[in-house]
Amino acid sequence: MLKITNLHAKIGEKEILKGLNLEVKAGEVHAIMGPNGAGKSTLASVLAGREDYEVTDGTVEFFGKDLLELAPEERAAEGVFLAFQYPVEIPGVSTTNFLKTAVNEIRKYRGEEPMDAVNFLKMFKQKMAYVNIDQSLLNRALNEGFSGGEKKRNEIFQMAVLEPKLAILDETDSGLDIDALRIVAEGVNKLKTPENATIVVTHYQRLLDYIVPDFVHVLYKGRIVKSGTKELALELEERGYDWIKEELGETV
């Protein structure tokens, strides 16, 4: 599904990704872990197409297409979804109106007819029940005045509505208490199918108690320096990152 080869990216003059390789297949859950400043959020932003980052080398293939050639909205329409670490507050636009626009823009991209109001509402109701989100939240302006938990839950709701092939969760656990974390993780797990894949970007292991990864990768200084299974996450939790730096021959 996704094949990242030798990816280099910089912001301004600062190179952050320095030759990153990663392959994700349908049905898999990958966790990207790493210390602060390793480039975790950069990777998520580059995949979603944020303009602030400049890709200087490497390729990203998504179902055989060159993802880097596509505008952010085209990537979304192809099935890439980024759950934001800090969802943006947009006063004056209701979540409902926002998602209706998104759904129909994506349908237009795929050459499908726009969804009519009745079907949209039906689908909406279904997804609301699915991720356990309240109607009142959706009538309010998008993320405006939402608590941290509400914002993240809204991200998962949007994911449910848009049904992406690849979901990238960028530090979804940041700012969440354990109950909110569990609800968000439950939503992600419910949305899992053999056809889609998830990349969980996280600093801490605790989210991985709820969203169990098939693979765990350690991102350090812009590259993936170690890969393993979920046990690697537990080891990182226990021992921190220093031993990995030592393995790389760095003095700690």
Binding site: G49, E73, F84, I90, V93, A102, L162
Partner: protein, 437 residues
């Protein structure tokens, strides 16, 4: 007509006009006229050296010739074409500045709403007119108001007697018919609202055709104690239209006056909104929205004068500026020595969606009282790039995301409008302008 001097033309026109006034020349109002033409002569048209006109240059306007109050073939058929869908109420038409009773529809009973052309009111109700006209006028300093006053004739006089609640809105539709030639009009309206009366009044300006047109409008409201007035000024004129308009409001105690000024289109627009709060526990609300594109120029000058204690004013203006358009906002708040416990809030927010658009803002607070709450803030910025990316990441194209953000920005001012047909009409104009221009 390039060498025409508008001032000379108007001074000569006044001589002729005066000669035709007959009986009206004996009314008390005639002295007001004579004083006004003299003031106009002394002031002359402002140049950009004038502080109040620094960013709005009328040079192109005053070097052109216009036919005032031109006869128009505007018919019922044209009315139907200009229809604001589902608009109900008292709808009065002014064609090139002249009230057209035939096209107009008055549905409210006379006990609620008294309507006379200004010329008839000057003759039939000379005292009522004299008592209320120029109650909060800028005639001494504004050449355009002086000019309008000198020629005041063809507007409307509206009186809502004390205690009456006018159920149906009063819509004044000003049509500049520039299909044949350059035309100009100077509507002058006087609206007197009695104690505890309530009314909604909308002024809607439209132009037809591609010739130049010039509107110099003055509308005055005198709002008695405990009265409640909801006022709309909506503008949708061509790029060849010049509009200079002053709305003057005089409020007594415990009255509420709410103004919504929405400029969808117009080549050169200058709106003055001057409110004097001359009583306690009164409230003035001023909301505005302007969306210029192309080379349109939209200037809003507002002034609220708190003369008595314990009153509130609240102001929110918003602008979205596209292409090479320019905007001006100047908001004055005066709090007089007597006006303790005044609350006055002012905010003006602008989004420049093009690198070539310009906005000039100037809040001006003059406070002589010491126990007051006043605040002001103006911002001019671009669309939020984080919000744009967030929307794009959900599949919304950049253009659609920009439009959605612009509409969201305008929404809180749109939501202030309470006449459904007018709100719907403006929403459609605004959406069209945001999405298609």
């Amino acid at each position: 007509m390039n060498n025409t001097n508008l001032k000379e033309q108007l001074l000569a026109d006044f001589q002729q006009f005066e000669g035709k006034l007959n009986g009206q020349a004996q009314t008390p109002f005639h002295q007001v006229r004579q004083q006004a033409i003299q003031t106009f002569n002394e002031l002359g048209f402002p140049t950009i050296k004038h502080e109040e006109w620094k960013y709005s240059n009328v040079k192109n306007l005053v070097n052109q010739g216009f036919e005032f109050n031109a006869v128009s073939s505007f018919s019922q058929e044209d009315v139907n074409q200009l229809d604001i869908p589902n608009l109900e109420g008292n709808i009065l038409y002014f064609i090139n500045g002249v009230y057209n009773a035939e096209l107009s529809v008055v549905v409210s009973p006379e006990s609620e709403l008294q309507i006379l052309s200004l010329a008839d009111a000057i003759k039939q109700q000379p005292e009522l007119v004299a008592q209320n006209i120029n109650k909060n006028s800028d005639i001494e300093v504004n050449a355009f108001t002086a000019l309008n006053t000198a020629f005041a004739q063809h507007g409307i006089f509206i009186h809502v007697p004390a205690g009456k609640v006018v159920e149906q809105p009063v819509i004044l539709r000003f049509i500049s018919d520039a299909r044949q030639a350059n035309v100009a009009s100077q509507p002058r309206n006087l609206i007197v609202i009695g104690k505890r009366a309530e009314v909604q009044v909308a002024e809607a300006f439209r132009s037809l055709g591609d010739n130049q047109c010039f509107t110099n409008a003055v509308t005055e409201f005198v709002v008695a104690e405990e009265a409640n007035v909801h006022y709309y000024k909506i503008q949708n004129e061509s790029d060849n239209a010049y509009h200079i308009g002053t709305t003057s409001v005089y409020q007594e105690g415990k009255s509420v006056f709410t103004a919504n000024t929405v400029t969808a289109n117009g080549g050169f627009v200058r709106n003055n909104l001057n409110i004097k709060i001359d009583g306690e526990y009164a409230e003035a609300n001023m909301f505005g929205l302007y969306i210029p594109n192309g080379k349109q120029h939209i200037d809003n000058h507002t002034a609220v004068d708190h003369a008595k204690p314990n009153s509130n004013s609240n102001e929110l203006y918003k602008g979205i500026l596209k292409d090479k358009s320019t905007g001006v906002f100047n908001g004055k708040i005066f709090v007089r020595e007597d006006a303790q416990k005044t609350n006055a809030f002012q905010s003006c927010k602008n989004v420049l969606v093009s690198a070539d658009a310009t906005m000039n803002t100037k809040p001006q607070l003059e406070i002589w009282a010491d126990d007051v709450k006043c605040s002001h803030g103006t911002t001019t910025g671009q669309l939020n790039t984080d919000a744009l990316f967030y929307m794009q990441a959900r599949g919304i194209s950049k253009e659609a995301a920009r439009s959605l953000l612009m509409l969201a920005f305008a929404q809180d001012v749109i939501d202030k409008m309470e006449i459904p047909a007018i709100k719907a009409y403006l929403e459609e104009l605004i959406v069209g302008k945001i999405y298609n221009s």
